[in-house]
C-alpha cells in the first residue's frame, strides 16, 4: 500500500488543552462536595430533628489532648526512623527479595488497627505469649511499661504507621539514585553520606512525620484495645455514652485542628518534589551488600518477626483449636458477608471518586489544591462517622430503613477517598506532559484518550487505592458502630463487642478472620503485579 495514496483521516474536533472549568473540574468539585458535605454539616447547631442530648460533659480535656499529642508525636518520630531504615534497606541496597520484604512490611498498616493492637496485647501483654514462653524476658520488658500504657500505645502506633513512612521515604530515596548517589559514594565519607541523604530527603521525612501524626492522633482502635486514655476515647465517650453529638464535635475541634493541619501541611512539605518520568528511568545504582546481606536480612526478619509474625502467632495461639476457630467463623458468616459487600462497595465508590478528583488535581501543581485533597486524611474515622450520622439524622430522621447501608458505604468511601485521591494524583503527575500532548494531537476524543492513554497509566495506582480503601473498610469499627443498621453488623463490630468481655478464643478467631480478609487483596495484588502496594 502506497502511503501517499492513503487519504488523511478527518478530525472533527480541534486539539484543545484542558483549561478552566470543564466537565472534569465540575465533576471533581461535585464529588468533593458530596463526600465532605456531612463534615461541613456536622458543626451546624442541632435542630428539633436532631437527637436529644442526655448528658453534657463540660469543657475540653486539654490535658488529655496534650498527652495524646506527645504520645502520637513520639510514635511519629519512631515510625519515621523505622520507616527510613526499612526504606534504605529495600531501596538503596541489592538485598534479595526486596518486593517480598516490602509487601510483608506493609502488613501492619493493611491489618485493621484493632486486630493489630490485639495481637500485640496477646503477644506482649499480661498472660500473653511472651510471658508464657519467656517469663524472664517478659518481666524485663514489662519493667518499662507504665500503668496507663502510653509507651505500649506509642510503640504500637509507630509499628502500625511505619509502613507508610517506609513508602514515603522510600520514594525520596529512589530519587536519590538519580540525583548523585554514586558521586556521593565516591566523594563522601559514610557519615557524610548519611547526612547528605538525610538532607536530600528532608521533605519526605517531614511528610512522613506529619502523616503519622495526623493518622495516629485520630486513631481509636489502638488506644481503645490497649486501654490507653487518649483523646479519641474522650470523643467516643461523648458520642457513644452520652449521645452528645454537638459536644463530641466541639471536643473534636482541637483534635481536628491539629490533624487536618498536619495532613494539609504534607502538601506544603512535598511542594517541590516532582516525579515526572518522561523517559524510562535508568537502572538504579544500589549499594552492594555482599556478606552484609545476611545481617540486613537478619535484622529485617527480626523486626518483622517481632512486630508481625509473633503477634500473629499469638492470635493463632489464642484460637484454642481449629474446630473452635471454624465455629467462630461459621457464627460470623452473616457479618463476614456484610463486611465483604460493604467494603467492596465502599472501595469502589472511593476509587471512582478518587479517580475523578485525583485526575483533575493531578493536572496541575498547586500546593493549595493538594492541601485541600490531603486535609481529609486528617479527619478521624470517628468524626467522619459522627458527621455522617448527624447529616443523615437531620435529613432522614425517620427514613433510615429506606437507605439501609447507603450512609455507611458513603462514609467508609469518604474515609478511603483521600488515599485513593492521593495515589491518583501521584500517578497523574508521573504522566509526562509530552505524553498528554502527543495524545491530544493524535486526535481521538477524550473518552478514547482516557481509555487508551490516561487510564492505563493510572490503573495500577487506582487498583492500589481501591485495595487500601477496601482494607480500611474491612477493619473499620468507628463508622460501622455509628451507622450500621440493626442486624447489619460487620466483622469489626462483632470483634468490638467480644473484645474485652467475650471469650478470648472468639476474639482471637475473629481477629484472624479479619486479618485474612484484609491481607488477602494485598497478597493477591502482590502476586499479580510482583510489586508492593504503593499507598502514598
Amino acid at each position: 500500500m502506497d502511503p501517499r495514496a492513503l487519504p488523511p483521516i478527518n478530525r472533527s474536533g480541534a486539539a484543545r488543552r484542558f483549561r478552566g472549568a470543564t466537565a472534569g473540574s465540575l465533576a471533581a468539585i461535585l464529588v468533593t462536595a458530596l463526600l465532605l458535605a456531612p463534615l461541613a454539616w456536622a458543626w451546624m447547631p442541632e435542630g428539633s430533628a436532631g437527637p436529644a442530648r442526655v448528658t453534657v460533659l463540660p469543657g475540653i480535656p486539654w490535658k488529655t489532648l496534650a498527652v495524646s499529642l506527645a504520645v502520637t508525636a513520639t510514635a511519629g518520630a519512631l515510625a519515621v526512623i523505622i520507616g527510613a531504615a526499612l526504606a534504605a534497606a529495600l531501596v538503596l541496597t541489592d538485598l534479595p527479595g526486596r518486593a517480598f520484604w516490602a509487601t510483608v512490611a506493609l502488613v501492619p498498616f493493611v491489618c485493621p488497627a484493632t486486630v493489630w493492637a490485639l495481637g500485640q496485647a496477646y503477644c506482649y501483654g499480661s498472660g500473653g505469649l511472651m510471658e508464657r514462653c519467656w517469663p524472664a524476658a517478659w518481666h524485663g520488658l514489662r519493667a518499662f511499661s507504665d500503668p496507663r500504657h502510653y509507651i505500649a500505645t506509642c510503640l504500637v502506633l509507630a509499628g502500625v504507621h511505619a509502613p507508610l513512612a517506609m513508602l514515603i521515604i522510600g520514594r525520596g530515596l529512589g530519587r536519590l539514585q538519580h540525583a548523585g548517589l554514586e558521586a556521593a559514594a565516591l566523594f563522601l565519607t559514610p557519615w557524610a553520606r548519611v547526612r547528605w541523604a538525610a538532607g536530600a530527603i528532608r521533605q519526605e521525612v517531614a511528610a512522613a512525620f506529619l502523616l503519622v501524626l495526623a493518622l495516629g492522633l485520630g486513631n481509636f482502635g489502638v488506644p481503645h484495645v490497649l486501654q490507653c486514655p487518649l483523646y479519641s476515647n474522650e470523643i467516643y465517650l461523648r458520642v457513644a455514652n452520652y449521645l452528645d453529638h454537638a459536644g463530641a464535635m466541639q471536643a473534636a475541634l482541637p483534635l481536628l485542628a491539629v490533624t487536618v493541619a498536619a495532613a494539609a501541611a504534607i502538601a506544603w512539605a512535598e511542594r517541590k518534589t516532582a516525579y515526572v518520568q518522561a523517559h524510562p528511568a535508568p537502572p538504579p545504582a544500589r549499594v552492594r551488600l555482599g556478606r552484609k546481606a545476611w545481617l540486613v536480612g537478619g535484622l529485617l526478619t527480626a523486626y518483622l518477626a517481632g512486630t508481625s509474625l509473633l503477634p500473629t502467632a499469638a492470635i493463632i495461639g489464642e484460637c484454642r483449636s481449629p474446630g473452635s476457630f471454624l465455629k467462630v467463623v461459621s457464627d460470623a458468616a452473616e457479618e463476614t458477608e456484610n463486611t465483604l459487600w460493604i467494603a467492596l462497595a465502599a472501595s469502589l465508590v472511593a476509587c471512582l471518586a478518587g479517580v475523578v478528583v485525583g485526575s483533575w488535581v493531578g493536572r496541575s501543581w498547586r500546593v493549595g489544591l493538594d492541601a485541600v485533597t490531603m486535609a481529609p486524611l486528617g479527619v478521624p474515622a470517628l468524626i467522619l462517622g459522627l458527621a455522617y450520622l448527624r447529616f443523615f439524622n437531620a435529613w432522614l430522621p425517620a427514613g433510615w430503613a429506606l437507605v439501609g447501608s447507603g450512609p455507611l458505604v458513603l462514609a467508609m468511601a469518604a474515609r478511603g477517598w483521600p488515599f485513593t485521591t492521593r495515589l491518583i494524583v501521584a500517578a497523574r503527575r508521573r504522566i509526562a506532559p509530552e505524553w498528554q500532548e502527543a495524545a491530544e494531537l493524535a486526535g481521538p476524543g477524550s473518552v478514547a484518550r482516557w481509555r487508551r492513554i490516561d487510564g492505563p497509566m493510572i490503573l495500577d495506582h487506582a487498583v492500589a487505592g481501591a485495595v487500601v480503601a477496601f482494607v480500611l473498610a474491612v477493619g473499620d469499627v468507628e463508622i460501622s458502630h455509628l451507622l450500621s443498621s440493626p442486624g447489619s453488623g460487620t466483622l469489626a463490630m462483632r470483634l468490638f463487642t467480644f473484645l474485652h468481655f467475650g471469650p478470648t478464643h472468639v476474639a482471637a478467631g475473629l481477629s484472624l478472620l479479619l486479618l485474612a480478609l484484609a491481607a488477602a487483596p494485598v497478597i493477591v495484588y502482590f502476586l499479580l503485579t510482583d510489586r508492593c502496594l504503593r499507598i502514598i
Partner: protein
C-alpha cells in the same frame, strides 16, 4: 507498567465487582423481623436469638453495644430515638436504666404470659418490664496470689492499705458498676457511700473500661508487673473466666450485713415499635423458663429468678446470694446523684 494492567479488561473486571456488590447487597431478608437492642453479653444472647429465629422464622436484628458504653450507650440511643424509634425490644442486663426509660415514657406496657410464674419483685407492677435471669455483684480474686481465707468479705475491706494498688473496678459511669454505686448511695446513705469511694480512690484503685476487663486483670495478675489481685465485677464475668480455665474465683460481699446487689436482666417493649407483633413474640420467648434455664446453665451462669429453675453448677456450689433490700424507686432516685459524684471524682 505491569503486564497484567494491560491484559485485564477493566470493563469486565469492574462489571464483575459491581455485580458482586449488587448481588450481595440485594439478598436481603424479606420476612418478618424484629429489632432488638441487647445489652447482655453477645456470647450469651446471640445463641438465644438464633434459637428464636429458628423456632419462629422471625429475623432478630440485634444491636449489641460495645464494651465501655454497654447499657448506657444503648439507653442513650433509645432516648435519642424517642421520637422515631428504630428499636422494638430492649433486652437490658440490668434494671435501673430500664426504670429510667419507663419513667420517661419510652416503654410500652406488655406483660408476657410466660412470666406469670416469676416472683413479683422481678416483674414491673405497671407492666413495663419483665425480669429474666440475674447476676450479682461479687469480689473477684486471683486464686494463685490470694488465699481463700485472705479474701475480703466486704467491699469496705477493698479500701484497706493491704490492698493498696491491687484492686480494680469498672468505670462507675456505666453498666452494673453504675447501678452498684447507686445502690450503695441508697443502702448506706450518701455520706457513707462517698466516704467509701473516696477511700477506694486513695487506695489507688485501678479503673478500667468494663467488668470483663476487671476479671481479665485479676486473672493475669503478677506481683512484678500487674499486681491487681482483686476486683469488683459480676458473676457472669467470673464464671466465664472460670470456664476459660483462668485462675479466678469470687465471693458475695457483705452477706452478713446489707447484702450484695443482685441485678436482674430485663426485657421491655418500646413504645411505637415498628414490629409490635414480632416484638411481643420475642419478649414471650425471652421471659420463658427455657431461656432462663439456658442462661443459668450457660457459660455465664446467670442466677435464675424462678426457684424451680436449677442454677448452674458454680452458683449451686456458691449458693444464691443475699440481696440488698432496695426498691427500684430508691435505686432510681440515687442514679443521677451518684453518677454526678463519680463523674467528678473518678477519672480512668
Amino acid at each position: 507498567m505491569s503486564a497484567w494492567c494491560i491484559r485485564i479488561r477493566p470493563a469486565v473486571a469492574a462489571a464483575a465487582v459491581i455485580g458482586l456488590v449488587c448481588w450481595s447487597g440485594c439478598t436481603r431478608h424479606a420476612g418478618p423481623e424484629v429489632v432488638v437492642y441487647v445489652a447482655v453479653d453477645r456470647g450469651q444472647s446471640e445463641p438465644i436469638l438464633r434459637e428464636f429465629e429458628a423456632q419462629t422464622g422471625i429475623l432478630a436484628r440485634a444491636v449489641y453495644d460495645a464494651e465501655a458504653a454497654k447499657t448506657t450507650g444503648l439507653v442513650t440511643r433509645l432516648v435519642a430515638e424517642e421520637a422515631a424509634p428504630r428499636c422494638d425490644v430492649f433486652w437490658n442486663n440490668e434494671l435501673v436504666q430500664t426504670l429510667m426509660l419507663a419513667d420517661r415514657g419510652i416503654l410500652e406496657r406488655f406483660e408476657p404470659s410466660a412470666a406469670a410464674d416469676l416472683p413479683a419483685e422481678f416483674r414491673d407492677t405497671a407492666g413495663y418490664w419483665t425480669g429474666i435471669a440475674s447476676r450479682a455483684r461479687v469480689i473477684v480474686y486471683n486464686t494463685r496470689h490470694v488465699a481463700a481465707d485472705e479474701v475480703p468479705r466486704s467491699i469496705f475491706e477493698l479500701a484497706e492499705p493491704k490492698w493498696k494498688g491491687k484492686v480494680a473496678v469498672a468505670n462507675p459511669q456505666y453498666g452494673t458498676t453504675r447501678t452498684h454505686v447507686a445502690a450503695l448511695f441508697a443502702a448506706l446513705g450518701r455520706q457513707r457511700a462517698c466516704e467509701f469511694l473516696r477511700r477506694l480512690l486513695e487506695n489507688e484503685v485501678r479503673i478500667v473500661d468494663g467488668n470483663a476487663m476487671v476479671k481479665n486483670l485479676v486473672a493475669r495478675a503478677h506481683p512484678d508487673a500487674s499486681p491487681i489481685y482483686l476486683g469488683l465485677t459480676d458473676t457472669d464475668d467470673v464464671l466465664s473466666g472460670q470456664a476459660d480455665g483462668e485462675p479466678v474465683s469470687m465471693v458475695y460481699p457483705d452477706q452478713d450485713t446489707f447484702g450484695t446487689l443482685v441485678v436482674p436482666s430485663t426485657v421491655c417493649l418500646i413504645r411505637g415499635a415498628s414490629h409490635p407483633a414480632a416484638a411481643r413474640r420475642l419478649i414471650e420467648y425471652l421471659a420463658g423458663a427455657d431461656v432462663e434455664r439456658r442462661l443459668a446453665s450457660g457459660r455465664a451462669g446467670f442466677i435464675p429468678l424462678r426457684a424451680a429453675t436449677p442454677a448452674g453448677r458454680a452458683i449451686d456450689q456458691l449458693g444464691r446470694p443475699r440481696a440488698m433490700k432496695l426498691t427500684s424507686r430508691e435505686l432510681l432516685e440515687q442514679l443521677e446523684p451518684s453518677s454526678q459524684w463519680t463523674r467528678e471524682h473518678f477519672h480512668p
